[in-house]
């Protein structure tokens, strides 16, 4: 047969088949209806919808791309039904298309979640897993996906560590269990483990190369029964990210776009020039020196420079994302390209990301499936504003300094009397200093899945994360008044990191009539490596020539390192048994070996078990239609953590240069050979329910996790010569296993469709998390043992961890007003030196006098000394919650998302500097309320205690003295503020173009929207933002000139083109 003939025969056969269908239709006097069923949430097609003709037994089911066709008589009613969606009825009028958009009542019922090396229906899950869809995630227009988790997932505390574009967030799942081992969860993206975060403190965020647009869903694995399969890196929970993949069907082309601007939400109230001058004059009179002739008449001065207004700007951001996906039965593909650009609200900061993703799945033969997920990303970040500390400078620099002088040169401090710190001009610093980081990241995996039999398969996976980064710095010569830099210098560094995982596992599934069994067994090895080089020179011939080889070769310094990071090898297995679809049992076992420990401590076992009871499948509930799901889950497990740097079990020698040798060997750390795994006992109980066809669902988990042998880089007293942080010349403190910490709490989520009518729906989601952290034991120091954190602003302990309280509670004196009357000196104890002698009451140096702060004598011994300190609250919130409301009306949608935190305290370190009248810095307006010390009889003695009083005794601001014997700024309750807040994270209003318009322009979906992120904030906190993230639980809740979160206004569109 020639080809033409072949074609003709095929044609004829199809005609015959079509004829048969026509015949059947004609017989029933029906018309043919076709159409497509999509979700009202995101316009995605819904397969598997049942379409029934009311009053008949006839019906059909929608296909994989959501399309259906059915024959029905005109006048009959079609009923569209799908679990988790509100049913819809449409009367047939004539032949043709009936496209249907179903409103979801709950997506939770049909959800598929990741359970570690496998997927399962949420119904069949025994562990505690929360999920969030990509659509929900994108509501807040996050720069990075981790920012968007806040308030969305019960039990997960997300706090922004820096508001800098692309800046990091700290994520804790169910509390702080480790003190200096990492508390951050394990991130797994399409099976690729993202290596532990190296140094997030600088504002760089390793997760920021991932485009939130490409995420299909995020699953958060919380309890031990869910995480144990991931082993030792998973003790703090696992965040599994699944990216979108292609589906068989006609190609879909999607274009997402948004554009907007960001602005600072709140400025701190600093003095203007007139107030400042008036204040300096008043202080000069008391001090008897530091009089500024230029301030003599404040009236004639202007308002001066408002440094915050100069530094912060309205900053634009733009995002473009184009995705093409589709495929056939054998091959599915998704190709996505995106570009994102964000300027920071502080000048000198920006973030740009360009990325390309390819997800490909291929069924090569009937027994082999192969595929890949591959992402290339380029991230470029200007981090100058953080690196140069310009926000701190903008707050510290006084209003008498101009941004630019009349001649166009940069302004700066011109009078250094009075120990004026040489604070540089922040605007100039932001403009002229270069601090550019670029990162190219490739990460992806490659898998082959072999189906031996219907039940048994083997999956081989190789995944890798390759990161190439450069950092260019240049500081030019500059003159900002008396702040002068006469030598320009620059450095350049390059580094590359690799992290590879090889993983193989067998899966066996079998249905023995009433039993269903699933077995998993596998092996995994992971290893990292790094290489970097660094070069520095100074004395460049010009500030415009910044390439490193232009600098003076004799000033060159260089460095570099290479090596392999942590290596880990693991064996793992899991058994799932389900009986009668009522009782589910899961058991996990995993053995991990880590290079982080001395060889005697290297291997450890992790195990867990869980049981779930699907109560709704019991006979006694089978008949109750309104209960769709009721499931009880119980789980227990032991997990282990290795989250410390490598080689802490030996003393590392570091090469240093001194006058005796260029290669003298310096002891870098105090070693502890005995350091071993941190162990967590984890109990979890949960109840899941869904009612009324999923219109109401909830999930409640209570847990108790006890971590013992905590890995701690122990902050010993200074006399140990070690530091857990950074202190020049101190050895790095040893890692030890110490004590015990308990986290108990609950996570609760409830979702409801309050109203669901044809044109209007209203849905609410609420999440509430509560975690109580208690230190049960702190090791060898006994009752006296404590972990203390010192603030360098006041050179004193501010946070202290002791047994019986939560980790890192604030610690200090209790503020009790200022000395205002002679009686105050009688009723309040005076501070004493270490010998116990109180300082004299005297206006001269070395004495305590009116206007000094009073503190409570808590132990009642008549003096104020270190024993009068107490605990002043915890930076850990009592509750965290998120409330999401979404409305749709016809083609409009509105989303309103609130998140909040209750019961936490914040240490307002920034305010100390700026409310201290003895500092020479810009002051908060509040400083004008300084204690006014007056003589009762103006002719009398100024040092007679009975002749002096304070006219504004209610003030908190210290009087003007050139003496601080009282140590007025000692750590005290005045600096510890209420950090509770309610933040409107997001308001979005969208509009979807009606089908009638879309069909004309060959577009299947077109939605435009406007969003306000961080719309408002309700808080009593006086600083910029009470949300203070930290990676160090011993130093949580410290607000120290922090890059604030902006308020963002965006408009955008999502367009899906049809074929």
């Amino acid at each position: 047969m020639d080809k033409n003939l072949q074609k003709r025969v095929k044609y004829q056969i199809s005609l015959i088949i079509a004829g048969i269908f026509l015949y059947i239709s004609a017989h029933a006097q029906t018309v043919s209806i076709t159409g497509k069923i999509t979700s009202a949430d995101d316009g995605a097609p819904i397969p598997g919808v049942s379409i029934k003709i009311k009053g008949t037994g006839l019906g059909t089911i929608s296909s994989i791309d959501g399309s259906y066709s059915i024959a029905a008589e005109p006048g009959k009613v079609l009923v569209f039904n799908f679990l988790g969606y509100a049913p819809q009825e449409i009367t047939v009028k004539q032949a043709g298309a009936i496209n249907v958009r179903l409103n979801s009542t709950s997506s939770k019922l049909n959800e598929v979640v990741v359970v570690g090396y496998a997927k399962a229906r949420r119904k069949d899950v025994t562990g505690s897993i929360s999920s969030i869809s990509g659509t929900d995630l994108r509501q807040t227009q996050p720069t990075t996906f981790d920012q968007a988790l806040q308030g969305k997932v019960a039990g997960v505390v997300v706090q922004q560590v820096s508001g800098q574009p692309g800046g990091g967030v700290s994520i804790q799942i169910r509390g702080v269990s480790s003190i200096s081992g990492t508390n951050s969860p394990l991130y797994v993206i399409d099976g690729i483990i993202i290596p532990p975060v190296g140094d997030p403190g600088k504002g760089g965020n390793p997760l920021n190369a991932i485009n939130p647009n490409e995420i299909a869903s995020i699953d958060v694995l919380k309890d031990a029964s869910a995480t144990a399969i991931y082993g030792s890196q998973a003790t703090n929970g696992v965040i599994v990210i699944t990216t979108k993949r292609g589906k068989a069907g006609p190609p879909q082309i999607t274009y997402d776009f948004y554009s907007g601007y960001q602005a600072i939400a709140k400025r701190l109230p600093t003095m203007n020039l007139q107030d400042h001058a008036g204040f300096i004059n008043a202080r000069g009179q008391v001090w008897g020196f530091d009089i500024r002739p230029e301030f003599v008449n404040p009236k004639y001065l202007g308002t001066g420079t408002d440094w915050q207004a100069e530094l912060f700007r309205k900053a634009p951001m733009n995002n473009h994302n184009l995705t093409v996906s589709g495929g056939d039965d054998r091959t599915q593909y998704l190709l996505s390209a995106s570009y994102f650009n964000q300027e920071g609200i502080a000048i000198g900061s920006n973030f740009t990301r360009a990325s390309v993703r390819l997800n490909l799945d291929n069924k090569t033969t009937n027994w082999l499936k192969i595929g890949t997920s591959l992402q290339l990303a380029r991230v470029s970040e200007n981090q100058n504003s953080t690196a140069s500390g310009v926000i701190g400078s903008a707050l510290n620099l006084t209003p008498d300094i101009p941004v630019k002088n009349l001649d166009g040169s940069w302004g700066g401090i011109s009078n250094t009397n009075g120990w004026v710190l040489s604070t540089p001009n922040p605007v100039a610093m932001a403009e002229i200093i270069k601090n550019l980081r670029k990162r190219k990241q490739i990460f992806g995996n490659l898998y082959a899945e072999i189906q031996f039999t219907r039940d048994l398969s083997l999956r081989n996976e190789v995944s890798g994360n390759f990161d190439f980064n450069t950092e260019d710095n240049f500081t030019p010569t500059y003159t900002f008044g008396k702040t002068v830099n006469n030598t320009n210098y620059g450095s350049t560094s390059m580094g590359q990191n690799e992290y590879t995982v090889i993983r193989n596992f067998l899966t066996y599934n079998h249905n023995f009539s009433r039993y269903y069994v699933n077995l998993l067994a596998g092996h995994e090895s992971q290893v990292g490596s790094f290489q970097n080089a660094y070069a520095y020179r100074s004395n460049f011939p010009s500030n415009n020539v910044q390439a490193i080889n232009s600098g003076d070769g004799t000033t060159a310094r260089n460095g570099g390192d290479y090596g392999s990071g942590t290596a880990q090898e693991s064996y793992f297995g899991r058994i799932n048994v389900s009986w009668d679809d009522k009782y589910l049992v899961t058991a996990n076992l995993r053995a991990d070996g880590s290079s982080n420990f001395f060889h005697t401590n290297r291997w450890v076992n992790t195990y867990s078990g869980a049981f779930a009871w699907k109560i709704n499948n019991e006979a006694f509930l089978k008949g109750v239609k309104s209960i769709n799901e009721l499931k009880l889950r119980l789980g227990y497990g032991v997990t282990n953590n290795q989250g410390i740097p490598g080689n802490t079990f030996v003393t590392q020698l570091q090469t240093i240069a001194n006058g005796l040798s260029g290669i003298a060997q310096w002891q870098n750390n105090l070693a502890n050979e005995d350091v071993t795994w941190e162990k967590t006992d984890y109990y979890n109980a949960g109840l899941d329910g869904a009612f009324f066809n999923g219109r109401l669902s909830f999930s409640l988990d209570v847990y108790d996790r006890e971590t013992s042998g905590l890995l701690l880089k122990i902050p010993l007293p200074l006399y140990s010569g070690t530091t857990a942080g950074w202190s020049p010349g101190s050895m790095q403190a040893p890692y030890i296993n110490i004590g015990k910490v308990r986290n108990r709490g609950f996570d609760f989520r409830v979702s409801g469709t309050n109203i669901s009518s044809k044109n209007f729906t209203w849905k609410t989601d609420v999440t509430v998390s509560r975690n109580v952290n208690t230190v049960l034991n702190l090791g060898p120091g006994g009752a006296d043992a404590s972990l203390a954190q010192t603030s360098y602003t006041i050179n004193q302990v501010v946070e202290k961890t002791v047994v019986g309280r939560s980790i890192g509670e604030f610690y200090g004196y209790v503020f009790d007003g200022v000395f205002a009357t002679a009686n105050d000196f009688k009723t309040h104890a005076l501070p004493a030196d270490q010998a116990g002698n109180t300082y004299p009451i005297s206006p001269s140096g070395g004495g305590i006098w009116y206007g000094d702060r009073m503190f409570k004598d808590l132990n009642g011994d008549g003096i104020i000394d270190t024993k009068d300190q107490t605990f002043l609250g915890s930076p850990i919130p009592k509750f965290q919650f998120g409330i999401n409301n979404s409305f749709t009306y016809k083609n409009f949608d509105l989303n309103f998302f609130l998140s909040g935190s209750y019961g936490n305290k914040v240490f307002n370190e920034q305010s100390i500097r700026q409310t201290n009248s003895q500092n020479n810095t810009a002051y908060f307006k509040k400083v004008l309320e300084y204690a006014r010390v007056e003589l009762i009889d103006p002719a009398g003695s100024a040092s007679d205690i009975d002749n002096v009083h304070v006219t504004n005794p209610g003030t908190t601001v210290v009087g003007l003295r050139n003496d601080n014997t009282n140590d007025n700024n000692r750590s005290n309750s005045l600096f510890i503020e209420n950090g509770s807040f309610l933040r409107c994270k997001n308001i979005t209003l969208g509009y979807r173009l009606p089908e009638s318009v879309l069909s004309k322009i060959h577009v299947s979906n077109f939605r435009i929207y406007g969003t306000v992120t961080n719309a408002f904030l309700i808080t009593k906190y006086s600083g910029m933002d009470p949300e203070i993230g930290s990676w160090n639980p011993l130093q949580a809740g410290w607000d120290n000139g922090y890059y604030p979160q902006p308020r963002v206004f965006t408009i955008g569109a999502n367009i899906t083109f049809s074929k």
Binding site: W367, L458, N460, N486, T487, H523, S525, S538, T554, T555, D561, Y562, G563, S564, A567, E569, S594, H599, R602, N647, V650, Q652, L653, I656, N658, G659, L660, S661, A664, Q665, W666, Q667, N668, A671, I714, P715, P717, L718, Y719, S720, G721, T722, S727, P728, G729, S730, M731, P734, P780, I794, N795, Q796, Q834, A835, G845, G846, T866, N962, N964, R970
Partner: protein, 523 residues
Amino acid sequence: MKPINKILVFALLAVAFTACKKSFLDRPSNSQISSNNFYKSTTDLRLATASLYGGSHWFAFHSQSMLTLGDILSGNATFPWNGDIVQLYTRTITPQNAIISNGWTGLYNVIAQCNTVISAIKKADPSVSTADKNAAIAEARFIRAIAYYHLAVYWGAVPIIEDNAKLLSDPLLNRNVVSDVYKFVANDLTYAAQNLPKTDQTGRVTTWSAQGMLGKVYLTMSGVDKSGSRDQALLDSAKKYAGNVCKNSGLALFSNYYNLFKPQFNDSPESLFALQWQAGTGYANGNAWQTYSPSGDINPGKNGAWIPFSPNYELYQLYSEKDSIRLKASMFLTGVHYPELNAAGGGFTATMVAMKKHIIGNEKDNNAPTMDFWSSPEHNSVLRLADVYLIYAEAILGNDASTSNGEALTYFNAVRERAGVDHVTSLDFNTILKERRVELVFEGQYWIDLVRYSYYNPQGAVNNLNNQKRGTFIYDKATKTAKRDTTFVAPALPATISSFTLPIPASEMTADPKLAQPPVPYY
């Protein structure tokens, strides 16, 4: 599935489940050697002890506290624009003072390095000879003794730590009584004196360093817990060791006092122990004393002249007219020209009165291109021969009111002669104290002298502080006259005997409540 595929698949499976090699989990660092496998030869031990002579562990004490505690606390100078320094000068020191915590932290950092080196050397490869091991341990014990000596002088009773690893199981320590701290220092130095060589690489300590220091320590100990007179046996020990250095070491004073503080004459034979700083080590690793410079013009990078100490009028008055060499080497006087500072720019004419000692000019003056104001190449002495000469004289004077002992006079006058001033014929305590103050000014020594005095004559030491005529001065070069200036001088609290003991840093008291308890014996 075809058979060939099956074979392929099972081959894959076999590969997949093969465990990694045992060494897979061994991941030692490539850039850092570990102490467990490093100490294989004498050369290795030398590299370990070399690090003790200078580096970041010395930074906190050296950059912040050595001169401020030694010379500002004792009234040699002031600086009005820094609250922490003002507290030292006015005796209103609070436990939050950063100079106090830096001094404490810094000295214990040095001790931690010494202790860790000592334990590593003890475990070194058996092929290294015992003598070499002992010599290396002696170097570390010498430097540890220096740190404990300063701790005892400043804070009195402090915790003694010999093995930092023990802190892992027992982190909270009591203070040890001051006499035991000195005993510990003397033990370390005795070991050092016995095991150190007579000569070594330039810059390394020798037995003479240890014996000189031992003289100083015994002289200090002779007054502890005594009233009125000192312990004669300890005075004799001081005399023995100091005298041995004076007479038998073969060392002599460096010819030129002015040049003694120039880096080109680093580690002259007069230097018994000097910190071995190097240029270009960056912030927190080097000698940061150029931040005490009075003018950016003479600093490397023309920057960092932040805290120029203003010398006291009383101090200035101690220099006789003939004592011009030591005066010029110690203080900038307004209008005086220093050709060697910023030489390429025509030298430097002082515009204010300020500390001169240790201000050595810029990177070109010192032929050190990598020098910045955080890394001066000056090897500042902690112990030098002139100090030991004066110790010897004081030890001979002992409990006598005055002496005209020939040896005491010989060595005392050697110091004066080098300075170009007249010999004396008789010595008493005040002559020696004044000589030490002038000779060793801005080397962190005067407070040590006053504390030593306070041990056996509290009232005398208290009076010394209270009778000081404080205040800076204005210098007129034309008339070569100085006028006292009290504009910036905050009045000081009257000194008492407790003024001689610094408060323990506040954060340390909070971290270890046991420090508030009375000190306990160590031995």
